[in-house]
C-alpha cells in the first residue's frame, strides 16, 4: 500500500508511546504523594504526546514513513491519523475530567490514590493506543490492543457500584475472548506467511501486504473471520457488541467519551490494518464485512430508539456508527478507506461532544440520565443544549456538518463497489439517526 513512500528511521514512533506510558506509570506510582504529580503531570504528559503526534503527522503528510526500533515500529498516514485523534481527544477528556469526575464520587472515594489511578490509567491507555498505531508486528498489534482493554477496564468500574462492576466484568471477559480469537487469526496468517517470507518478516504487516495475493485462500478467509470477530468485538461491531452499551452507560462520563471516541476506534484501526491488507484480493471478505456492518448500523439505531437512558442511547448509536466505519474499511478501496477514516475522526469528535454534554447534564441535575425526566433542558442549560443539538445534527448527517461529508463518501464508496443495498441501508440508517438524538435534546 505504501511501497512507493520512503521509510526513514525516526525517534517519533518510539516517543509517541513511551512519553504517555512513562507519564502513566509515574502518575500511578507517585500520584498519591502530591497533587502536582497527578492532574498537572498527566495533563503535561498528554499535551507533549499531542505535540509529538502533530510532528509525526507533519512528517507522514510529507510522504515519509517513520520507522523505529528496526522495523518493529512503523508509522504511516493511517497511524498518524489515529495517534493524533487519540492523543488530542485524551488530553481534552482529561481536562474535562477535572470537574466532572469528583462530583459523582462518594465522599470516601475521593482519595488521592483513586485520583492517581484515574489519571495514570488514562495516560497509560494513550501509551498503549499509540503503541497499537505504531506497531508493525502483527502479534504486537494484538498485545497492545489487549493492553488498551486492560488499561480501561478499571476506568469503566471506577465508581465501584454494582452496575459498573457488572459492566466492567462483561467488558473484560468478552473483549478478552474476542481478542484471543484475533490472536489465533494472527497465528494462522503468520504460519501461512512463513512459507513465503523469511522468519520474522512474516510477522510484519507491511511485508504480508506485499504477498497477500499469494497466500492460501482457506487460511486467509479463516484468519479474516477471526480478525473480524476479535477486533470487531473491541470495535463494538454487531453482533459482538454485547459489552458496549453497559460499559458506556456505567463508566464515568469522561470515560464514556473516551470509550466511544477513542477506545472502540482501536478495534477499527486493528481491523483496518489487518483486513485492508487482505480484502483487495479476496472478495468474500468485502461482502461479509458489508453484511455485518449494514446489519449493525440498522439494528444499532433501532435499539437506540428503544432506550430511555441517554447514555445507553448514545452507546447504541455508537454500535450503529461503527457499522459505517467498518463498512468503509472493509471495502478496501481508496474511497472506502477515505470515508471510513474520515468517519473515524468525525465520530470521535461528535460522539465525544455528545457524551460530554450528557456528562454536563448529569453534573448539573445530580445524576439524572433518563430522557423522560429531562424535559425543558434547553431553557435551563442553553449552551449545553446547543452543543448537543450540533452534535446530534452532525451524527445524523445533516448537510454542512462533518458527518454529512463522511457518510456521503461512504455511500459513494459502497455504490462504486456495486453494493447498492449497503448504500441504501446506510442512507435509511442515517435518516433514522436524526430522530432519537434530536428529540432527546429538545425534550
Amino acid at each position: 500500500m505504501t511501497n512507493d513512500m520512503t521509510a526513514v528511521g525516526s525517534l517519533l514512533p518510539v516517543l509517541v508511546f513511551v512519553v504517555p506510558t512513562v507519564t502513566g506509570l509515574l502518575v500511578l506510582a507517585a500520584g498519591r504523594s502530591s497533587r502536582l504529580l497527578r492532574e498537572p503531570l498527566a495533563f503535561t504528559g498528554l499535551a507533549v504526546t499531542a505535540v509529538i503526534a502533530m510532528l509525526s503527522a507533519q512528517e507522514t503528510l510529507a510522504g515519509r514513513v517513520l520507522t523505529g526500533w528496526g522495523s518493529l515500529l512503523r508509522m504511516d498516514g493511517l497511524s498518524s491519523l489515529m495517534v493524533l485523534i487519540g492523543s488530542c481527544m485524551a488530553a481534552l477528556i482529561l481536562f474535562y475530567s477535572l470537574r466532572c469526575l469528583p462530583q459523582q464520587m462518594s465522599e470516601e472515594q475521593r482519595t488521592p490514590a483513586k485520583f492517581s489511578l484515574y489519571y495514570g490509567l488514562v495516560a497509560l491507555f494513550v501509551g498503549m493506543l499509540n503503541l497499537t498505531c505504531a506497531a508493525n508486528n502483527m502479534v504486537m498489534l494484538y498485545i497492545s490492543v489487549e493492553a488498551t482493554t486492560l488499561a480501561t477496564a478499571l476506568l469503566v468500574v471506577f465508581y465501584w457500584r454494582r452496575e459498573s462492576l457488572e459492566a466492567g466484568y462483561k467488558y473484560l471477559i468478552l473483549v478478552a475472548v474476542g481478542l484471543t480469537c484475533a490472536l489465533f487469526g494472527c497465528v494462522l496468517l503468520y504460519a501461512a506467511g512463513l512459507a513465503l517470507l523469511p522468519g520474522r518478516e512474516a510477522l510484519m504487516l507491511s511485508s504480508l501486504g506485499r504477498i497477500a495475493d499469494k497466500l492460501p485462500t482457506n487460511v486467509v478467509l479463516l484468519a479474516a473471520a477471526f480478525f473480524i470477530a476479535g477486533f470487531g468485538t473491541k470495535a463494538g461491531l454487531m453482533p459482538f457488541h454485547a459489552w458496549l452499551p453497559d460499559a458506556h452507560a456505567e463508566a464515568p462520563a469522561p470515560i464514556s467519551a473516551l470509550l466511544s471516541g477513542v477506545v472502540i476506534k482501536v478495534g477499527a484501526y486493528a481491523l483496518a490494518r489487518t483486513i485492508t491488507v487482505l480484502a483487495p484480493y479476496y472478495h468474500p471478505i468485502v461482502a461479509f464485512v458489508a453484511i455485518l456492518a449494514s446489519a449493525g448500523m440498522l439494528l444499532g439505531i433501532l435499539l437506540a430508539w428503544a432506550q430511555d437512558d441517554l447514555k445507553r442511547l448514545l452507546a447504541y448509536s455508537s454500535v450503529s456508527q461503527m457499522g459505517y466505519i467498518v463498512e468503509g474499511l472493509g471495502l478496501g478501496t481508496h474511497l472506502g478507506l477515505y470515508g471510513g477514516l474520515f468517519h473515524v475522526m468525525n465520530h470521535a469528535l461528535f460522539k465525544a461532544l455528545l457524551f460530554m454534554c450528557v456528562g454536563a447534564i448529569i453534573y448539573s441535575t445530580g445524576g439524572v440520565r433518563s430522557i423522560s425526566k429531562l424535559g425543558g433542558l434547553g431553557r435551563k442549560m442553553p449552551i449545553t443544549a446547543a452543543c448537543f443539538i450540533i452534535g446530534a445534527l452532525a451524527i445524523g448527517g445533516v448537510p454542512l456538518l462533518n458527518g454529512f461529508m463522511s457518510k456521503l463518501t461512504l455511500f459513494l464508496a459502497a455504490a462504486e463497489q456495486r453494493l447498492l443495498w449497503a448504500a441504501i441501508i446506510g442512507m435509511i440508517t442515517s435518516i433514522l439517526t436524526r430522530f432519537p438524538q434530536t428529540t432527546g435534546s429538545l425534550s
Partner: protein, 226 residues
C-alpha cells in the same frame, strides 16, 4: 525434524496427558481441584515446549517454556488459589448437569479432534504441519481451544470462566508453537504479561462483585441489569 518424527510417541503421549488434564480442569466441580488440574495442564504444556525445543534444537522455544513456566504454572494458579479462598469452594450449578456435560464434552472432543486431524491442511497448508507429531499436536490444540469456548458458554461460575479463558489461551499458544516456533522475545513477553494482568483484573472484579452482591454467578449479572 528427523529427531522429532522419531520421538513422536513421546510428544503425543504428553499431548494426550495435556488433553486429559484439560478435561479435568473443565469438569471438576470443586474449584480448587480444578485449579490444580489447570496447573498440571499448564505444566504439561511447558513439558511439551521443552521436548519440542530439545528435539528441534530450537533455542527460542526454551524461552517460551521458561516464561510459560513462570506465568502459567506459578503466577496464574497462585492468583486463582488466593482469590478463590474468599469465594465459595463449590462451583455453581452449570447450565447442564454433570453427566450430560461429560457426555457432551466427550463427543465434542472426539469430533473436533478427528475433524481437525483429518483437515489440518485447511488451516495450515505447510509440509511441516502434515507430519506427526505436529499434526496431532495441532489437532489437540484446537480441541483445547474448543473446550475453553465450551466452558465460556455453559458455565455460570466466574472462576470457571477464567479457567475456560486460560484453556483457550493455552490452546492458542500451543498452535503458535506448533505452527510458528520463532516468535521474538518482546512479543513473547507481551503475550504472557497480558494474560497474567487479565487474570488478575478479572479475579479482582470477581472478588468485588462477590463482596457487593454475594454471588459469583455471571448469568446473575446480566439479569440484574434489566
Amino acid at each position: 525434524m528427523e529427531k522429532l518424527i522419531a520421538e513422536s510417541n513421546l510428544v503425543i503421549s504428553l499431548m494426550v496427558m495435556h488433553l486429559i488434564a484439560s478435561l479435568a480442569a473443565v469438569e471438576l466441580r470443586h474449584l480448587r481441584s480444578a485449579i490444580v488440574a489447570l496447573m498440571i495442564q499448564s505444566a504439561l504444556l511447558v513439558a511439551i515446549f521443552v521436548v519440542l525445543a530439545y528435539l528441534t534444537a530450537n533455542a527460542s522455544l526454551y524461552q517460551w517454556a521458561l516464561v510459560s513456566a513462570i506465568t502459567k504454572v506459578v503466577v496464574i494458579p497462585f492468583l486463582l488459589w488466593r482469590y478463590s479462598a474468599r469465594l465459595p469452594q463449590r462451583e455453581l450449578r452449570p447450565l447442564v448437569s454433570f453427566p450430560v456435560s461429560v457426555t457432551l464434552l466427550g463427543i465434542a472432543v472426539v469430533v473436533v479432534y478427528r475433524f481437525m486431524h483429518a483437515h489440518v491442511d485447511f488451516v495450515a497448508p505447510t509440509p511441516e504441519a502434515m507430519v506427526e507429531p505436529v499434526r496431532s499436536s495441532l489437532a489437540i490444540a484446537f480441541t483445547v481451544i474448543a473446550m475453553g469456548l465450551y466452558v465460556l458458554v455453559v458455565r455460570r461460575d466466574a472462576i470457571k470462566l477464567i479457567v475456560g479463558l486460560i484453556l483457550m489461551e493455552n490452546g492458542v499458544h500451543l498452535t503458535l508453537v506448533g505452527l510458528a516456533p520463532t516468535l521474538p522475545e518482546t512479543t513473547l513477553l507481551g503475550v504472557t504479561t497480558n494474560v497474567v494482568i487479565l487474570v488478575w483484573l478479572v479475579l479482582y472484579l470477581t472478588a468485588g462483585v462477590y463482596r457487593l452482591l454475594g454471588t459469583t454467578d455471571v448469568t446473575e449479572l446480566s439479569r440484574l441489569r434489566r
